[in-house]
């Protein structure tokens, strides 16, 4: 019952807002929903419902999806006006952005980005960045839309948004492509460089993109292509005739002459675009068809453009508004390329049911298409149009006939005669228009036409339309010498009716009088004087001025002087004929299919289509490296290693942000280099892949144990300001598996910048080192971390090399601890025992040690052992046993460490490996670590 009361219209209108508020605050979902529906109804009607904001915004977190959606509608509409209150809802959206349902994430982003409140710009930015990396393409699409919203809210975010656009442009989803290109067009249409790498992908995706996206992408690619490819029109422009000849006569001689000029070869990418857009001519979406048509018009070789004709003509069967736009574009095209549309001439015949603007456009096109061959058909068609009941259209047809008559000289006389016949038409507008057009035609035809003028003079009394009367008067005046008898008589009649005429007729009467006065003053002197006197006192000042001027010019007096002599030459000078041309003549300055073209004026945000470049820019920018399938694995691995290395970097030296960044760069380089190397050295690769995947995670854990020791490589006193430290990051070396990874931290403690830091000579000469890339410049106080790889060949012999700057060379050496020459190996306890069994006798080294009590627990033991050696922990079922396994980096020999706890802190330490030298050194190191506190 309660629900129904407010639906009564009277009550509803009286206390609308109070009721709605009450309903929104009620606990019943259905009431809230009903209230929201009414509020949306108010918004739809354009009524103000902003008062209800506090009550509505409370429901933003509702569980009911429809209610929630309606609240969203409301929020988007009023948030701008109620910014403070709108902020209350933000946290709800932030939460929803993390929702597992992609639909909710997307809609939260849609609404959040539609709330035009400047204060939430950073939140929006963050949300967009996150959504752009979302797994759901639908959410990514929404983020592309949000980019534009944020940009229009705060243009200062441009740079950051471009980064997101750049990322999304790489997206391979057809769902995203259209939207991100739209964002690109809105935010940074001039950043054509972002397109290069994505060009081929966009071309290939195009057919599968949704229709609206296709329009946007095609229009962007049109602009792109005009900046990147050379013109395919050159041969046609220069000497079309010659080219045609070469085409038909396959004589070798003729061809030779041509090959001297550089033949045009279309860029394959240019062809790709044309080829991939062509099927879209068959789209049901008229906007898509039009955009392909304009692409061909602006980009295709001239002889290929005509494939779009049929599709454009097809669009003429669509809705009236579609016809209007398509006809406008055909009108522009048909001026330059009659041949394209001539076979379809009949499609442009006017139907009586067409709207006036459609009729006018069809007339325009028919006129453009007229030539000697088809003019008779067209004129016959025009004849029926003249009889149309739509008089404005009939008048336009007469104009069109006039244009045909001037353009095609063969039919000028026929047209003229036809128009003269129309002078006896019952309809005034038809007659008037005919007079005006005849006037223009006679001007262009300097032959004998006194008959027509006489005929018109006869009709003069019956014509009332001022423009037509004025035109006849002008004609008689201009050619008064050809109709010497009639002209004075017309003037006589005009003198009688002068005061009752319209202004334009009066002006032409004055003109006629003046011209007759100069040529036939005997008969017309008095009449002229009379008309000039009437004009002198006319109400219109233009007519008074003109009269005064004409009198001074033609009537000799003592004041008038020299001008008088030239009166005849001034008034009766031969006048250039008016040019009758299409109103679409200069429309081709606009890109076809655009709003600007439709309006014939530059619309806001119109992007000029650039001219073809004379020389094509570098084609290779569009090349994309193909990422190998195996690349993805290594990418993952190295991203892991990045984490660990930066961790260790921090803990060891607290190196600055800049250093770790450059480190990342180094890593990236490594990544790309690693893949080919894997291929070139199959043996290494085999061994590499032998290591089970689990060991990797093990390694991560081990290396995070304990502080990593950093050693000095070069003191700044000896290094003249250049200081270097190094440590072992304990990750597999990316350059070569047999190398040990070393990170070197270079810092500049001098007061000037150091340049070209690199590695010079090394000893022993056979020592294989992977050097870091030369550091071009190191500023004072700055430091940089670089990675290198050294193959120590499983020996602790120091690697000596020279660290060079531009000016100096410093000999340095890296002496590895034996534990660093290992890498962890994961194995089960059984495997460990089995392997240990194989490495008995000579290969076993053992010692009984007395441990520091603090080290007695198995955890402490692990920590100590791992700090000394880069080995992996082998999970043990026996409490009193600790086992560790590793391999030497260079040769991959197994190194097994086991520790058996005995009573009172004594333990038996055993090392099994074929590398006995390493074993004794390792034994010593571990013993030392465990016996010390």
């Amino acid at each position: 019952e309660v629900m129904l009361i407010p639906t009564r219209p009277r009550l509803f209108s009286v206390c609308r807002n109070e009721d709605l508020k009450e309903m929104l605050e009620s606990s019943k979902e259905s009431l809230k929903l009903e209230a929201m529906k009414r509020i949306v109804g108010l918004i739809a009607k354009g009524k103000n419902a902003s008062e209800l904001f506090p009550a509505v915004v409370k429901n933003v977190a509702s569980k009911n999806i429809e209610l929630k959606k309606l609240v969203y509608v409301y929020l988007v509409r009023y948030a701008e006006e109620q910014q403070d209150l709108a902020l209350l809802s933000i946290s709800t959206f932030q939460r929803a952005l993390k929702d597992p349902n992609q639909f909710i994430r997307a809609s939260a982003l849609r609404v959040l980005s539609s709330i035009r409140v400047p204060i939430i710009v950073p939140i929006m930015m963050l949300a967009i960045k996150e959504a752009a990396a979302d797994l759901s393409p639908y959410v990514r699409k929404t983020s592309a839309h949000a980019i534009q919203k944020l940009f229009s809210l705060d243009a200062d975010q441009k740079e950051q948004l471009i980064e997101v656009i750049e990322k999304l442009l790489k997206d391979k989803s057809t769902l995203v492509a259209g939207s991100v290109v739209m964002a690109f067009e809105e935010v940074c249409p001039d950043r054509i460089d972002l397109i290069h790498k994505n060009y081929r992908k966009l071309c290939n995706l195009l057919v599968d993109v949704e229709e609206w996206g296709q329009v946007v992408i095609i229009s962007m690619l049109t602009r792109y292509a005009r900046t990147q490819f050379t013109s395919p029109w050159k041969e046609v422009r220069g000497q079309s005739g010659e080219v045609m000849k070469a085409f038909y006569e396959s004589d070798s001689e003729e061809k030779k002459g041509h090959t001297e000029e550089k033949p045009y070869i279309m860029d394959p990418d240019h062809r790709l675009l044309l080829r991939n857009t062509k099927p879209l001519l068959q789209s049901r979406n008229t906007a898509v068809v039009m955009s392909v048509a304009q692409l061909y018009w602006h980009l295709a070789p001239k002889h290929e453009v005509s494939i779009v004709t049929k599709s454009l003509v097809r669009l003429l069967r669509s809705h009236r508004e579609v016809q209007y736009i398509v006809l406008q574009n055909i009108a522009t095209m048909s001026i330059q390329r009659k041949g394209m549309f001539e076979p379809f001439m009949k499609s442009f015949y006017v139907r009586s049911t067409d709207a006036t603007h459609i009729k006018t456009l069809k007339l325009e096109i028919l006129t453009n298409l007229a030539n000697e061959a088809n003019i008779s058909t067209i004129l016959r068609e025009f004849q029926t149009y003249v009889k149309s009941q739509d008089k404005a259209f009939a008048a336009a047809t007469i104009q069109a006939i006039g244009r045909c008559a001037t353009n095609i000289s063969e039919v000028t006389d026929t047209c003229l005669n036809g128009l003269v016949l129309l002078l006896s038409n019952r309809d005034e507008t038809v007659v008037a228009e005919s007079v005006v057009v005849i006037k223009k035609l006679l001007q262009t035809q300097p032959t004998q036409h006194s008959e027509i003028i006489k005929h018109m003079a006869k009709l003069f009394d019956n014509i009332t339309v001022p423009m037509a009367r004025a035109s006849i008067l002008w004609l008689i005046g201009e050619y008064c010498e050809r109709v010497p008898k009639i002209a004075p008589d017309v003037l006589r009649k005009m003198a009688k009716s002068f005061t009752a005429e319209e202004d334009i007729v009066k002006l032409q009467t004055v003109n006629l009088a003046a011209k007759l006065y100069l040529t036939n003053s005997k008969q017309t002197k008095l009449l002229t004087q009379y008309i000039l006197n009437l004009g002198k006192y006319d109400q219109n000042y233009d007519i008074r001025d003109r009269t005064r001027f004409i009198r001074q010019l033609i009537v000799p007096s003592e004041k008038s002087g020299a001008l008088n002599k030239y009166a005849r030459r001034i008034l009766l000078a031969p006048k250039p004929a008016p040019v009758l041309e299409s109103s679409f003549k200069d429309r081709d300055r606009f890109q076809l299919g655009t709003l600007s073209h439709s309006l014939n004026s530059k619309a806001t945000g119109y992007q000029e289509l650039s001219d073809w470049p004379a020389v094509a820019p570098d084609q290779s920018v569009r090349n994309v490296e193909i990422i190998e399938a195996s690349g993805s694995d290594s990418e993952e691995e190295s991203s892991e290693s990045e984490k660990t290395s930066s961790d260790s970097g921090k803990s060891s030296s607290g190196s600055e942000q800049s250093s770790s960044e450059s480190e990342l760069e180094q890593k990236k380089k490594k990544k790309t280099k690693k893949v080919p190397q894997k291929k070139s050295k199959p043996t290494a690769a085999d061994r590499y892949s032998e290591i089970p995947a689990v060991c990797w995670s093990l390694r991560v854990t081990t290396s995070s144990f304990g502080p990593v020791k950093t050693y000095e490589l070069l003191h700044h006193m000896t290094g003249k300001g250049l200081a270097a430290k190094y440590h072992f990051p304990r990750q597999p070396c990316l350059y070569q598996p047999s190398m040990v990874a070393v990170q070197v931290i270079l810092s500049n403690s001098s007061d000037h910048s150091l340049e070209e830091i690199h590695i010079g000579d090394r000893s022993p000469a056979s020592l294989s080192i992977h050097c870091f890339n030369t550091i071009e410049r190191l500023e004072p106080e700055a430091s940089v971390t670089v990675s290198m790889g050294i193959d120590f060949s499983d020996s602790t012999q120091a690697a000596n090399f020279q660290l060079c700057t531009k000016e100096d060379q410093f000999s340095v050496s890296i002496q590895p601890a034996v534990g660093e020459l290992l890498m962890p190996s994961s194995m089960t306890e059984q495997d460990f025992c089995k392997e240990q069994g194989k490495l008995q006798g000579m290969n076993e080294t053992s010692a009984t040690i007395t441990m520091e009590t603090a080290n007695a627990s198995s955890q402490a033991i692990s920590k100590q052992v791992l700090s000394v050696a880069n080995v992996g922990v082998v999970s043990s079922s026996q409490n009193n046993f600790s086992r560790f396994a590793g391999r030497t980096v260079s040769s991959g020999a197994l190194v097994l460490v086991s520790l058996e706890l005995k009573e009172s802190s004594t333990a038996l330490l055993t090392i099994n490996t074929e590398k006995t030298v390493m074993a004794s050194m390792l034994l010593r190191d571990i013993k030392q670590a465990l016996t010390q506190a």
Binding site: K28, S30, G41, K45, K69, L70, T142, H145, V322, T356
Partner: protein, 420 residues
Amino acid sequence: MIHSLFLVNASGDIFLEKHWKSVVSRSVCDYFFEAQERATEPENVPPVIPTPHHYLISVLRHRIYFVAVIQSEVPPLFVIEFLHRVVDTFQDYFGVCTEAAIKDNVVVVYELLEEMLDNGFPLATESNILKELIKPPTILRTMVNTITGSTNVGEQLPTGQLSVVPWRRTGVKYTNNEAYFDVVEEIDAIIDKSGSTITAEIQGVIDACVKLTGMPDLTLSFMNPRLLDDVSFHPCVRFKRWEAERILSFIPPDGNFRLLSYHVSSQNLVAIPVYVKHNITFREGSSQGRFDLTLGPKQTMGKAVESVLVSSQLPRGVLNANLNPSQGTYTFDPVTKLLSWDVGKINPQKLPSLKGTMSLQAGASKPDENPTINIQFKIQQMAISGLKVNRLDMYGEKYKPFKGIKYMTKAGNLCQFRLH
């Protein structure tokens, strides 16, 4: 792209507005009203109108203007096509697209518009997807919703957005699996006084109603595909297959959709299935005119010509008409001078005729022309071009669907006889 949308009725009232970006005052429509006033007919309002700060792009359907407000350069066809899509969607949802229907369903309209555009850029326009997001209103559902408080809005993201066939929803289930295809051809022609054809063309469409379970993959082949000169497809049709084999291969959307539009090449002569005999005379000085019109069938292969409707715009001088139809009914509107005659079916044995007198304005000069006559008609079970479907096959699903095909020919927007 599209900033705002205003719906304007025939009397020039804005009855709905929707904004996708910041709000544009409805006063921007004043420029539209000016143009509307200048236009003699509702159809004559220019589709693109520039104003100082915005551009108005409008379409007129069902006597409602859909006026979109644009702020910067955009392909006008993009907007026009979209607006028509909106109208189609409304029609699909409410059965009719009238002011009353829109006002009654204003919430659904708003929800639809919200989903169809995001920030002025089309988001979801496929009917299959929209229907999953927002259920079309039915009387039953409206009642249930009022009682239970449940909603029209779907809770899941339509699966189509993410699948490879974005036009088809997943999980379609029917107990009766059926696929119907309607081949509908329209003739557009202009015939001159002597009965010879000035221009004639046939365009056709294949509309489908497919209710099949699962993900069926259909192929449709024609006996004479060469007849089709120019085609445009629903996005579901595989273009390459058509190019190579002239076979329509597609995974259909669920429900009603237009599979194909085509144009029959103009080399084939088009026979107009009706002819007109006429004798309309006005005499100078007389206030009477004679009107005599007879229709007859021509080359219909024995099929009946039905639903014939004749309309003609008589000259302005005609005050009234006093006519006598041999069958059907006629009306004459003295204001618009529009004569229309609902003939019905043409019986070849007894040809329908309309005879009588017209009274003319006293003293007015004789109208100098004969009017043009527009004719509407339908012929069932025949495609005038002779296009024939060969077979329909289904792959990808195991059941046997029921398949049906229907042919029809009708007059297009214009089948015009010029009597002058």
